[in-house]
Amino acid sequence: MNIVNFTPVESLTGGIIIGLAVAMLYLLRGNYTGISGIYSNVIAVKGSGFVWGLFFIIGLIIGPVILSFLSYNDLGFTMPTTNPVLIILGGLLVGYGTQLGSGCTSGHGVCGISRLSIRSIIGTCIFVGAGVITVFVLQSIGWVSL
């Protein structure tokens, strides 16, 4: 192991801001900020979650636009994976997997862990573990270089 590109200040600041949004949505509206659930309710046009979910998703897109207007110097954008087969496979797995496992990084990883839900803690350990193994394999066979 070799520690690189470590940005504790930016990442902690961003994390606190994310936590603030999670706390606000719960305090004001009573919902957990699980983005895979919110977004899938929008595209599945599911009655009770459609309208507010749509506006949350619109906000999620407006936020970065506002930052770019402020000429915020972000932590960059690089996609190590450019093979379209891997990108499509990755997207399908993330989409299907988050619905089957009922949560993603925000739902299980932030909200679930904050509520000390055993189900979410286990879910988070599984997806992080699967991710670590996958990156190890990708690197070993030379499909990505990190």
């Binding site: 690089t78 990108i87 997207g91 997997g97 619905q99 949560g103």
Partner: protein, 139 residues
Amino acid sequence: MIIKNIIIPLICGVIFGIGLVIAGMTNPAKVMGFLNLFGNWDPSLIFVMGGAIFVSMPAFLIIGKKMSTPIFNKKEGFSQQLKKDIDSPLIIGSTMFGIGWALVGFCPGPAIAALTVVDGNVFMFFIAMSIGMLLKRKF
């Protein structure tokens, strides 16, 4: 209704999106760097999750103790956790999600927020993710 269904979710979404970008989550190289535990490791994502939980954990605790309903949604009240059991959909779904997350470096929130980069590969991932969700939800 406008406050509850438009203004609150819009503002929370904006704040969440800003947090994602500042944290570096919208940079797939950074996320894959975190998952690269056995190589050149970038531990930053621990600070993202830690920072978020540092705020939301006490918030859930205090709100749960002090309030019986959310401020602008007295009718529906607080969301209740639907499932508690550790079942095979959780295990299989989370494994699939973890593999997909590592293949490209995007989870759902950042994939949506990164649409603002206006990049063909981000768009391709976003469409595939949406199809994957609908495959599970509709069939």
